[in-house]
């Protein structure tokens, strides 16, 4: 079992946050394209970058699982670094070739990378220029560069770039907008619950098409489905929308409170919410309960990755009785994370940013029962005798909502169960 961390302040969410700078073992924002390109089926993501960007996408995507993805990289070469005039021509040529191959594409995201940002390539202007001459194809620019965005912030950057294109909501009735990519199946489940509660109309951002965007205005109420869409939320607030304070829809309790936040905005009584969600919530509790015995009291250490770390630590501590030792996050947004921080147990060390060597030292000293970390660290830590859970799987799995709560618990149980099974 684990040894307690020394000198932990007993204050829960008020504990001082350890802010670190150093080597970060995280992806850059480009990797958001891995799910965005599947979610928005009429969009293509064109990274303007280097061979490194292309190699990252291929390595992170699994060596060519998807034969023809809707993303690609315009790899800059020596001659492209010379001047802008050439770059415009080159972009035109690349985009032309792309649209020839994929005539069904309606929106092209021009995605900035570290090298394109460093040479100050004006992709915003390029997008405007291309859109003017495109005959109906939209060009949207955002950056996924590692010097500005960490992993899931790439989605935030992408969605923020879409906000100005959302049509004005001219109506006077409230609308619900759910922000952050969710699995299709989760969207359907949540829609059913909203329908039963008479909450609606409900829109999702991103939706399945990039050229059909939901309207936004003073009557728009927003629920964040993912903890990484903070800039998008602020941009939507500037369009008049109201962000509803809620924990994220993870676990039976998190999902209940998330739905309740919408219900309150629609003036629906708490008892009605409890009545409607009861069957799904009970199922979720039963599904979670199956893993409680194995996980209760176990300690867990989070390396920063997707910003899901704090909501996950809340779920694991409140619904499974796990003990978070350190919860690292790449970026801590006090405004939108407050509902989660209020629900974290006292004594949890929060860290923001990363100095991976120092964090590894702390992790080894803490000897957690389970360590949540990226793929670069997992096998080395396993070899040192720690049990690990790859954090990226939590981004790529449907984990939100009642029906997935048991699956989410199981993801943390599996490494421990596997360690018990193996006799080699």
């Amino acid at each position: 079992m684990s040894t307690p961390l020394p000198t932990l302040p007993d204050q829960g969410c008020d504990s001082p946050v350890l802010r670190e700078r150093g080597q970060r073992e995280v992806f850059c924002g480009l990797t958001g394209i891995l799910w965005l390109h599947r979610k928005m089926q009429d969009a293509f993501f064109l990274i303007v970058g280097s061979r490194t960007c292309a190699h990252l996408m291929q390595s992170a995507a699994g060596v060519m699982i998807f034969a023809e993805p809707r993303f690609g990289t315009a790899v800059m070469e020596e001659k492209d670094l010379a001047g802008m005039a050439v770059m415009d021509d080159e972009l035109d040529r690349v985009v032309g070739r792309l649209l020839e191959r994929r005539p069904e594409i309606r929106t092209i995201f021009l995605v900035g990378s570290c090298p394109s940002e460093v040479i100050k390539l004006d992709l915003g202007r390029a997008a405007e220029r291309l859109e003017e001459r495109s005959g109906g194809v939209r060009f949207v620019h955002y950056t996924g560069s590692g010097i500005e965005t960490t992993f899931t912030q790439g989605e935030d950057s992408c969605l923020t770039a879409l906000v100005p294109r959302l049509p004005d909501d001219e109506g006077s009735d409230p609308r619900l907008l759910v922000v952050g990519t969710l699995a299709d199946v989760v969207e359907e489940q949540l829609l059913r619950l909203f329908r039963e509660l008479n909450i609606g109309p409900v829109d999702f951002l991103p939706g399945r098409r990039a050229d059909v965007l939901p309207p936004v205005g003073a009557h728009t109420r927003i629920l964040a489905a993912q903890p990484w869409v903070n800039d998008t939320l602020r941009a939507l607030q500037r369009r008049g929308a109201e962000v509803l304070a809620a924990p994220y829809p993870l676990g039976a309790e998190g999902t209940t409170e998330w739905i309740r936040a919408a219900a309150r905005a629609w003036g629906i009584a708490d008892q009605e919410v409890d009545r409607v969600v009861a069957p799904a919530r009970d199922r979720a509790r039963r599904a979670i309960g199956r893993y409680r015995e194995a996980l209760e009291g176990r300690s867990i250490f989070f390396f920063p990755d997707s910003q899901l770390e704090i909501p996950l630590a809340r779920f694991l501590s409140s619904e499974l009785g796990m003990r978070p030792l350190e919860v690292g996050t790449p970026h801590l947004d006090g405004d939108f994370m407050s509902a989660e921080l209020d629900r974290l147990p006292a004594g949890v060390r929060l860290s923001e940013g990363q100095d991976v060597e120092r964090q590894l030292d702390r992790c080894r000293a803490a000897e957690p029962d389970l360590t949540v970390c990226g793929m670069g660290l997992a096998n080395p830590l396993e070899a040192e005798g720690l049990r690990t859970k790859w954090s990226i799987e939590l981004v790529f799995s449907p984990i939100q909502g009642f029906e997935q709560a048991g699956d989410l618990a199981e993801l943390f149980h599996r490494p421990l169960e596997r360690a018990q099974r193996l006799r080699v």
Binding site: L56, G72, E382
Partner: protein
């Protein structure tokens, strides 16, 4: 600007990482933004290494750019030295840092650390991974072994009577395609010849061993893409000859033994006796008759592509119908080999161009990389992987070298396995319309493998030969997915059926002849694995004869004209 979806090689600093990670006690400080750490997972996940690569990333952010990123380099170098206490330090920049021109190598050298510091200049916008690995090894060898370099023009004295001949093995790195097992196999072969292997580098070598490279009598260059420049420099500096034959296949392994024997001044006989492999008899055995003249398309790095072409032709009895490489630096070797086979070499790193060439050649088997495996899957052609870029399945638990005697056995098994076997092939030909022999049927020895759904094609005409694909088995895909943590999305996205075949423009001067419905139907009666060839031959024949409409007669005229099945 090059539009690319998949790349055959990573950037050059990944090549440097492969060298650093292969070495035991050398650390690499890489001036790079956050995100470039993705490269760590190549080693920890694809190769399943139990240690992180010995790389420190300076991790600069946008807000640092106006300020002092150079200071960040200095701190990172100092910290890395203090924490890891390496015996030598490589210092360089990734693509982004190259643009800000901080000269990390020079900064590190100015710190006067008590260990050798090797600055690396790897131009990211011109060069790629293999070149980066080669350049890194060269700079490291020059810097470390160079400390013991004799005077210019020094001649290696003859080996003292009775002393054992010795060599180094150069080229294997971390994340190399079967490097781990090739080294074991070739070391065993050399030892059977009575030759001492002094140093294997970079894989498993220490910095101190690199300084002693000049002591051996000669160098074995296993992977020229990586070790050629280092080998040339050692030859010039230490009068240390090097091997040029790559021991892949039986014939090449025997040639390699003879070359080594002559460099070492020993008899080739023990080495030739040690080339005990089943390939020759397996290939001569009558059940292999069906392999005769099978059309294969070969693509990979230059070394593996050239070697595979020779094995395919001389040791399997195949017909090589295409040969190419993405290794531009070694294109000359591939051009030479292609010319000897009467082929037009394909030198490109654009996988779309490779796809077009494969479709045009209509081979029955593709020997390629993971990229060609996907291309072949989409085209409904069998494929075996012979070269990097690597995939988690290229690191099998079992011993599976490509080189030496056992390597030849592995080649036979892994190239033959994807094919439909002889008698089965005949039965499929006899009773093509048996409902259980549909195009979705897979070879019986691969019964647990799911046939692919026919993929969408842009032209109805092309549709029929895009059929039941010899898809890799589910376990293999699962491993690929596991390595990259896409498990969940894969469950909703069928990895096989997501492929689309794009319309391929026919060259304007060669309008495709039209097929009559009868001829179409007859073509469908030909088993799918030879249908592509039949279609191509028939259309070629029709064009040559000026026939605009292909009927059943034309089909059989073409068959008689070209021979074969």
């Amino acid at each position: 600007m090059q539009l690319t979806v998949w790349t055959y090689e990573g950037p050059p600093h990944v090549g440097a990482m492969r060298v650093a990670t292969g070495l035991e006690d050398v650390h690499y400080v890489l001036h790079a933004p956050q995100g470039d750490t993705y490269a760590d997972l190549l080693f920890t996940m694809i190769e399943r290494r139990d240690h992180r690569p010995p790389v420190t990333y300076t991790t600069f952010e946008a807000r640092d750019l106006g300020g002092d990123t150079a200071d960040l380099v200095v701190r990172s170098v100092k910290d890395a030295y203090e924490r890891f206490k390496p015996s030598a330090l490589l210092v360089g920049a990734s693509c982004t840092a190259e643009l800000i021109q901080d000269n990390p190598g020079g900064l590190a050298e100015s710190l006067d650390l008590p260990i050798p510091v090797v600055p690396l200049e790897l131009p990211s916008y011109q060069r790629k991974e293999n070149w980066g690995a080669g350049e890194t090894l060269y700079q490291l060898v020059r810097s470390l072994a160079g400390r013991r370099a004799p005077e210019r023009g020094w001649k290696r004295p003859p080996r003292p009577e009775g002393s054992q001949a010795s060599c180094n093995i150069l080229g294997p790195t971390a994340l190399g395609f079967r490097h781990r097992d090739d080294v074991t196999e070739i070391r065993r072969l050399l030892e059977r010849m009575g030759i001492e292997v002094r140093v294997v580098a970079p894989l498993g070598a220490t910095a101190e061993e690199i300084t002693r490279l000049g002591e051996a009598d000669f160098n074995v260059i296993l992977y020229p893409e990586i070790a050629d420049s280092a080998g040339r420099w050692l030859e010039k500096t230490f009068d240390q000859p090097r091997t040029t034959v790559i021991p892949i296949g039986v014939g090449a392994t025997r040639d390699f033994v003879r070359e080594v024997a002559s460099l070492a001044g020993v008899s080739a006989d023990p080495g030739l006796e040690a080339v005990e492999t089943r390939l020759p008899w397996w290939s001569r055995s009558v059940d292999s008759t069906y392999l005769t003249g099978k059309r294969v398309f070969v693509f990979g790095d230059a070394t593996h592509a050239v070697a595979a072409a020779r094995v395919a032709q001389e040791e399997m009895g195949f017909e090589v119908v295409g040969l190419g490489t993405y290794s531009r630096e070694f294109a000359r070797d591939v051009r030479k080999a292609a010319k000897a086979m009467g082929l037009e070499p394909l030198i490109t790193d654009d996988h779309l161009e490779v796809e077009d060439a494969i479709a045009a050649a209509a081979p029955e088997l593709v020997l390629g990389t993971q990229m060609e495996r996907h291309i072949a899957k989409r085209l409904g052609i069998f494929c075996a992987v012979i070269s990097a870029p690597v995939h988690v399945q290229d690191f099998p638990a079992r011993y599976a070298p490509q080189m030496g005697p056992e390597g030849a056995n592995v080649l036979f098994d892994s190239w033959i396995h994807p094919l439909v076997m002889g008698l089965e092939e005949h039965l499929l030909g006899l009773f093509q319309e048996d409902f259980e022999f549909g195009d979705g049927a897979v070879p019986s020895h691969r019964h647990n493998e799911r046939p692919a759904a026919p993929v969408m094609t842009a032209t109805a005409e092309a549709e029929e030969d895009i059929v039941a694909t010899p898809a890799p088995d589910a376990g293999e895909e699962a491993a690929a997915i596991a390595a990259t943590a896409l498990a969940a999305s894969a469950s909703t996205t069928d990895p096989v059926s997501t492929g689309t075949v794009l319309p391929r423009e026919e060259p304007a001067d060669t309008v495709a002849p039209q097929w009559t419905p009868d001829a179409q139907a007859e073509l469908k009666r030909i088993p799918f694995f030879v249908r592509g060839k039949a279609r191509k031959n028939t259309e070629t024949f029709a064009r040559e004869q000026g026939i605009s409409e292909i009927d059943v007669e034309t089909l059989y005229e073409a068959k008689a004209h070209f021979g074969g099945r």
